[in-house]
Amino acid sequence: MHGSTRREFLKATGVGVAGTVAAGGLLRAVDASLLGPEARAATTTLALAATDGYITMPGREDNPIYVFGFIPVSPSLTVSQLTSTYKGHAQHTAPTLNLKQNDNIKITLTNLGLVQRPDLTDSHTIHWHGFDIPTPLNDGVPEVSVAVPIGQKVTYFYRPHREGTYMYHCHFEDVEHVQMGMTGIVFVRPLQDDNAALKNLGLARSTPNNVAYAGFAYNDGDGSTGYDRHFAILLNEIWAAGYHDGDRDIQESVPTDYDPEWFTLNGRAYPQTVLPNDDGFTTSGLTTANANEGSDDKSQPNSALIQVNPGDRVLLRLANLGYQQHSMELPGLQLHVVGQDASLLRDGANDTSYWTNTLYLGPGEARDVLFDAPAYDGSMPSGSDGRGNYNVYQFKNRDWRKLSNNGAAGPGGMMTEVRVYQTPLPAQTVVSQTYA
């Protein structure tokens, strides 16, 4: 990737906020609750560029999959600078956007055009899926608002009042562009993350987890959605023989013929899913030869690996931007569904959260799911990596057809691992953090 500019991607400005920038995350130095209603709102400025590129799916290492995607870029670069640096180097999935409730969010989208298909002059948009949006201008649906043609940029504005997990995608010719890879997770942290008293409820837990919660999924008022680590995982499918190869080879695809061959978590199919992130902390080793650009692209930067300590309360931020309903299981661990579609599962005072071991997730739906990592057990099936020994729990699709990579014998596809380590990992500093 293009590290020097990527670090500028999340650039925090605004009243009294000293933003500390890290890849994919934003650390705040000021307790926002001390400020007045207007001054409390910080401004977060982000920029994304849209272009094409290639990714690798297991079984097609020698024949990369053509994708469209969003790349995180510096808001201060010009269109021509962006074009010369990023055009043709799309990533999938798009960066996970970590935002704060009630902040002013400005996201600039620049359309760089396509290297593989210079004849295809598609526009792009950002649709923040699920946002209660008080003007269609920022909804990103080109039939009812605007789209961004090649060489242009537009700045979308959002002020999120509902915390929780959402997703975002391009809505221009959506059946094609969503499948082509212009998909990512966006989540909104609650104001309650500034409430030290509620965070300290975590201290009442037994050793070694008598630590304050790192944050909350929702403004629950009682700490019931507190977590130690959180992971954003986007479920998806890849229909290579349709849009991906079709768009590469200038062939039409028929949407109602949809028949995906790969099933992915964060744009990777198992065993790619357990490789680390490509970010400032780790490198996946997963690269794709980009024939157009003559480069080896780290175009699938987002890991789906879930590395935790024994006793951690873990929040999974799950969203589905495939076109099929998926049935996800984490055998051995119970799933506590506390939120869906950026809504706390509570009707008035009535708790509507539920426990399950099989989580259905339809297209366009999101769930916030908690589980408690068990103690490390040396007698259980385990592995080891650079962080030492761990127990493995598989987070996987119940439908074995989706544990296959293009029909090959499994396991593959929509599966990743929860690794519970014998030797504690450091505290998470960004969402979905992986440790090599």
């Binding site: 039939e143 009812v144 002020r159 104001l191 949407p255 949809y258 339809g362």
Partner: protein, 582 residues
């Protein structure tokens, strides 16, 4: 299909006021409302229906036509409709439905989710229920059970007859509260905003096999080879879904699914009700843009916790399973509190609360296929200038958001995207569309200061006219002219606010284009130096007051002030019209 006799399932007077402005004094039946759920009339004398099962054709937006089987509420090809008629009954009512089977095979109706036994007379016993033989009849009688949204469908040869379209909606209303969805005040809704979205899929090859079944070379009907190509809401695929109910463009598909709401205000607190039914065999993940919806019930049962407390849930996408029904409330609140209790105001307004990001230059952007529902302006009730070559379908700055299946392969018409299982949510400005004067003309007196532009906002910026200065009666008489009101606009609400430099007698008029005369709206009233606001009665059917031809869309509001002996200045602060767009 008995278009003219269709009526709303809500009290007629309310329907006329809210949705179907017609001259009731003329004795005409109210026309079908353009949007919203339409209940089929019961037979005279009670809750009985006659339904005919027969074949006909539906149209798809890509120019195809597909042979369907369906229920219809009158005999004959001209009455064919898909899906079946919406049956609205009240809990506890004894409902009797006689099926006249015009299909080439035995058919029937089942009522999943009804509590009491369905008694069938006539016909012959079938696998699931009594069947009417081809060209025969059967009558089904039951006591309508708990309130809610239900499906009715064929109980015969279901792998063919349900695929072919033999399904419809059955609505059971609470006996005590017609504008509650269930027997709970938490399900109260605005009866003028009740919507039905019935989802289904179509495999045109299977339908073709049935259509040509009498041909010896006909392909076999193999339902295991089902490959759906069309995905419908109320029997239509997007963009046909947003056409009016009973659109002449879609003669056998009478039900539109455009959802129209206005922002909730202190005087308009009720949500819209959206009843959803999945009559197909696939699950459909339905995604509302714009705002969350609140699911209050499933399969005709209120969502409650074991202790009886409500257990509704909010969604930006929810999968509705095959055969399920779900009921949703939809609000549009412009000012509210967030989940932490913090108040906020995201009612963006170009004057008082502009968006923190400047509008983009629309000439540098793309409007899909050079036509758009966007107004050219991000603010509700305002329109902007579109780039040349781009046409806007927007009427008065209303907003549109898609409501669609997020299995995006279903948000398609066979091979084309942005079609199929989708419709639009239309958010109208609070109270209706807004219009300001675009010109003024002085009939008596002279211009003192200002122009028509000063009349648009209640801001103390004034349009001033000097009265005449001679004679026993001094007069300041002028009118504001409005342009661009659409033909078919209804419920004209006029507001004029102004004052005089010294007290004078004020009368307000409206120009009647059919008689070329002024119709008096208010007055004479004495208006002095303090602003007086005049709000004449809402004109539900203003056709005579909206110009046609070269005067297309023009409305004139006249303000005449007069006073004996003393000259004065009349001062207009605000002159506006709010109306319901067609």
């Amino acid at each position: 299909m008995t278009h003219l006799l269709r009526r709303l399932g809500i009290p007629a007077a309310l329907a006329v006021a809210a949705l179907a402005p017609m001259d009731v004094a003329s004795g005409q039946a109210p026309a079908t409302p353009k949007t919203g759920m339409v209940c089929t009339p019961q037979n005279a004398g009670g809750s009985t229906y006659d339904l005919w099962a027969s074949g006909g054709y539906m149209q798809t937006p890509d120019g195809n036509s597909v042979y369907m089987w369906s229920y219809q509420d009158a005999a004959g090809d001209a009455s064919f409709q898909t899906p079946g008629p919406v049956l609205c009954v009240t809990e506890g009512q004894t409902v009797s439905i006689t099926l006249h089977n015009a299909l080439p095979e035995a058919s029937s109706i089942v009522f999943p989710g009804q509590d009491t036994e369905v008694a069938a007379t006539g016909g012959t016993p079938g696998l699931l229920t009594t069947e009417a033989a081809s060209n025969g009849t059967a009558t089904y009688t039951f006591v309508a059970g708990k309130p809610g949204t239900y499906l009715y469908e064929s109980g015969s040869d279901v792998s063919k007859q349900i695929e072919m379209g033999l399904y419809g909606a059955l609505i059971v209303r609470p006996s005590a509260h017609q504008s509650w969805a269930y027997n709970s005040s938490s399900t109260a809704f605005d009866p003028s905003r009740e919507y039905l979205l019935l989802l289904a899929e179509i495999d045109p090859d299977l339908h073709h096999a049935v259509e040509v079944a009498s041909n010896p070379n006909a392909p076999a009907y193999d339902f295991t080879a089902v490959h759906n190509r069309y995905f419908t809401i109320n029997g239509r695929s997007f963009p046909d879904t947003i056409q009016d109910n009973d659109s002449v463009l879609l003669p056998s598909q009478p039900y539109g699914s455009l959802v129209r709401i206005q922002p909730n205000t202190p005087g308009n607190t009720q949500p819209a009700l959206i009843r959803m039914i999945n009559a197909g065999v696939d699950n459909h993940p339905f995604h509302p843009h714009g705002n969350h919806t609140r699911e209050i019930a499933q399969d005709g049962r209120l969502l409650v916790a074991p202790g009886g407390a409500t257990a509704s849930t909010e969604h930006f996408a929810e999968t509705i399973g095959a055969g399920q029904t779900m009921d949703y409330l939809l609000r549009w609140d412009t000012q509210s509190t967030d989940s932490s209790g913090q108040p906020y105001n995201d009612y963006w307004d170009p004057n008082s609360n502009p968006l923190p990001v400047a509008q983009p230059n629309y000439r540098n952007l793309t409007f899909k296929d050079a036509h758009t529902w966007y107004s050219g302006n991000p603010y509700l009730g305002y329109k902007g200038t579109m780039p040349s070559g781009t046409s806007s379908l927007n009427i008065c700055g209303e907003w549109y958001f898609p409501l669609h299946s997020h299995a995006l392969n279903e948000f398609s018409n066979f091979d084309q995207g942005f079609g199929g299982m989708g419709t639009l949510l239309r958010v109208d400005p609070a109270g209706g569309c807004f219009a300001a004067a675009t010109a003024t003309k002085i009939l008596s007196g002279t211009l003192n200061a200002g122009s028509y532009a000063n009349l648009a906002i209640d801001d103390g910026k004034l349009y001033k006219v000097n009265s005449t200065t001679t004679g026993a009666t001094r007069v300041a008489d002028w009118y504001g002219q409005f342009g661009g009101l659409p033909a078919g606009a209804t419920n004209l609400a006029i507001t004029y606010k102004g004052s005089n430099s010294s007290s004078a007698s004020q009368t307000v008029y409206l120009w009647d284009w059919t008689t070329s005369s002024w119709t008096q709206l208010s007055g004479p009233t004495s208006v002095g130096t303090a602003d007086v606001t005049v709000t004449p009665s809402v004109i539900s059917l203003p056709a005579n007051y909206i110009g046609t031809g070269t005067k297309h869309g023009m409305v004139r509001i006249r303000v005449r002030n007069s006073k004996a002996s003393t000259s004065f200045v009349t001062r207009g602060n605000l002159m506006k019209i709010v109306y319901d767009a067609p």
